[in-house]
């Protein structure tokens, strides 16, 4: 009787140990997205860039299966809002389509902000011309179209780039953003870099010609192009595809006409010089196959976090965004980071501390 009891106790103990081991194995195998290897719990809040929004929403869904105890929230609202929220500690990470502008540096005084590039995407020059399925444009012509210097589709400047294409004599309708946007900032940055005749500068809001039509969001501009014959506008790749728009091939720095695609955007990002803080501009990149109007978005995180747990959570989530999450991007019509940048982003994760 006595012996039997001891025996059963040993069996129970062994079973418990096995269970604990298998649990530990489970939790360590599920944290391949990066991070500290244990299951985390808590809430992370982020806001900012609406360019990232679809990726963030999808990534948050999939991340739930890796860290079920963590809640991640991402509100859009624009890069400017994200940076303001980060500066006032409302959020733990901010999405931004541009590095912190010098005017805002004062808000981050005494703190080190880490940049994690997360997505890349082409900006298309979409148009609505029945019967014209392929169009070639270069930066100076795009500049003159968007400055209303070229006002007809059959203007010599456009026909010279498109031999054999029958262009109508109809007027060009410019479609642009009515709200301030990182898409506008990067599109105008492309024109500043690539077109000497561009006079309107670069900013999140441009003083467009008065007869242009404004739409709210990429979707709003896509809607105008779709419903207005003769319209041309800049729309990010995902929305242009979603609305079924036709877009032009753009002459890149190497002199080749390149159509916007996930591949040509990643190629552009692969050809940029990345600064030590991981900021770069993928607009007007060199390389034979680079799409010239490619833009990028970062997640901004403070190097020094207030608690170890927050630091661990950020490492896990941002690690997922630059790690396994990248595989989600092509399905969402974003371009994944090229390996050269992705590795630097992953290496930088260890800098997040408390």
């Amino acid at each position: 009787m006595q012996r039997l009891r001891t025996h059963s106790a040993v069996v129970a103990g062994a079973a418990l140990t096995a269970m604990a081991l298998s649990l530990a194995a489970c939790s360590s195998s599920s944290s391949t997205g990066g991070g500290s290897g244990s299951s985390l719990s808590g809430t992370l809040n982020g806001s900012g860039s609406s360019f990232q929004l679809i990726y963030q929403q999808t990534a948050i869904q999939s991340f739930r299966s890796i860290q079920p105890g963590m809640t991640v929230n991402y509100g859009g609202g624009g890069s400017g809002k994200g940076r303001t929220d980060l500066a006032s500690n409302v959020v733990q990470f901010a999405g931004s389509d541009s590095p912190i502008p010098s005017a805002e540096m004062a808000n981050f005084k005494g703190k080190t902000v880490l940049y994690f590039p997360v997505v890349i995407g082409p900006i298309t020059i979409s148009y609505n011309l029945s019967g014209v399925s392929s169009l070639k444009l270069d930066a100076p012509v795009i500049a003159d179209i968007f400055q209303a210097k070229i006002t007809k589709w059959n203007s010599p400047a456009i026909t010279a780039l498109n031999p054999g294409v029958k262009l109508p004599s109809s007027p060009i309708v410019i479609a642009r953003r009515s709200d301030s946007s990182g898409t506008t900032a990067n599109f105008s940055q492309f024109l500043v870099d690539a077109a000497p005749n561009w006079k309107l500068g670069t900013s999140s809001t441009i003083s467009w010609p008065a007869n242009s039509q404004g739409g709210s969001g990429n979707g709003g501009v896509a809607q105008i192009i779709k419903s207005t014959p003769g319209a041309i506008g800049y729309v990010d790749y995902a929305d242009a595809k979603g609305a079924g728009l036709v877009y032009a091939s753009i002459k890149n720095k190497a002199g080749n006409y390149i159509a916007p695609s996930i591949q040509s955007a990643t190629t552009a990002a692969d050809n940029v010089t990345v600064k030590p803080d991981l900021t770069f501009s993928a607009v007007w990149a060199s390389g034979a196959g680079s799409y010239p109007i490619t833009y990028q978005s970062w997640d901004l995180v403070y190097q020094k976090q207030s608690s170890t747990n927050t630091a661990k959570m950020l490492k896990a989530y941002i690690g997922y965004l630059v790690g396994d999450g990248q595989k989600l991007l092509p399905g969402l019509n974003y371009a994944p980071l090229p390996a050269s940048i992705d590795q630097k982003a992953k290496a930088q994760l260890d800098k997040i501390g408390s």
């Binding site: 624009g78 805002e104 301030s180 999140s204 039509q213």
Partner: protein, 323 residues
């Protein structure tokens, strides 16, 4: 009603009112006072913090805040085109909404019997509860494409006629000053109507009956008895409607066209103060951001002025009415 102190109470050296009150009454007084003061404090804090955040703009531009050019790319932030847009769209809204609103108010009080008037009142009040974003989305998705064709017809009709061509010529798309004005007119009609109706309802029956007794027709009665009595109140109602039109944000932002231009062409895209704040704030930083907050401060000041004028006129009219 004015003689509340009954003759039974001796007119002795009364103690202050507060000492005679029970504790609950005094507590209530304190709570009510605190609630009232809180509104004031919040208002002052909003004014203070927004002004503080807008300071970089005021410092950078000086009187240039009323300049013509708004171009974030060159760091020029003059607000004149938005002030102009706000004034023009509000004026269009008032010109369209006021005659209709006053007409409805007269209809409801003087023409239709009360029982039949009630359903009409419900419908108009329903207009007031439509959220402004719904007005804006309806405007941009349904109204703008439809009215763009009408604008094109009008423009071709007035081509070459001196003044009309300047006002109604060269439309670009449906989104314009005029469209925003029309949407705003829809939005302010309920408030102007219900305030006017209340004012007109206070006209003493004896005045109206007197007019009829003298052989006046209904129109003459309205001209002679209703109008002089309710003139001030209706002006106040109109100014309150103006305040609402000036401050309307999201509906205007969606249908106004978003172009910082000053032009006599009403069918051309423009921008107004609240619309530009809503549209450009998300990606703004530095002086740009300060300028947008500063626009909010200016708008705040303008609406306060309009509201004070409105309240004064309504108050004076009420005094005249009771005198």
């Amino acid at each position: 009603m004015t003689q509340q102190a009954g003759p039974g109470i001796p007119a002795g050296p009364a103690r202050p009112l507060s000492e005679r009150r029970p504790l609950g009454d005094r507590t209530f007084q304190v709570i009510a006072l605190a609630a009232g003061l809180m509104v004031l404090v919040i208002l002052v804090l909003i004014a203070f913090s927004t002004t503080q955040q807008a300071l970089p703009w005021f410092k950078a531009e000086g009187w240039g805040i009323f300049g013509k050019t708004w171009n974030p790319a060159t760091q020029q932030f003059g607000a004149l085109s938005f002030i102009y847009g706000t004034a023009v769209t509000s004026a269009i809204a008032l010109i369209m909404a006021v005659p209709v609103s006053v007409g409805i108010a007269l209809l409801l009080t003087e023409v239709v019997p009360y029982r039949r008037a009630r359903p009409i009142v419900y419908v108009i009040d329903l207009l007031a509860v439509v959220p402004s974003v719904v007005w804006g989305l309806w405007g941009i998705l349904v109204f703008v494409p439809w009215i763009a064709k009408i604008y094109a017809h009008i423009a071709s009709g007035v081509a070459g006629i001196p003044v009309l061509d300047d006002l109604f010529g060269s439309p670009t798309s449906g989104a314009s000053f005029f469209t925003a004005g029309i949407i705003l007119a829809f939005m302010i009609t309920p408030i102007v109507t219900s305030l006017s109706r209340e004012v007109i309802a206070t006209v003493p029956a004896i005045d109206k009956e007197g007019a009829y007794a003298l052989g006046a027709t209904r129109l003459e009665m309205i001209q002679g008895a209703v109008w002089p009595h309710s003139k001030g109140g209706i002006v106040g109602a109109v100014l309150l409607g103006l305040g609402r039109a000036m401050g309307e944000t999201i509906a205007a932002a969606l249908v106004i066209g978003s172009s910082a231009t000053i032009t006599s062409h009403l069918f051309a895209p423009g921008d107004s103060m609240p619309a530009v704040i809503a549209n450009q704030f998300p990606e703004a930083s530095g002086t740009f951001r300060a300028a947008l907050i500063g626009l909010g401060v200016l708008l705040f000041v303008f609406t306060i002025i309009i509201n004070v004028i409105a309240r004064t006129i309504v108050g004076r009219a009420a005094e005249q009415g009771s005198a």
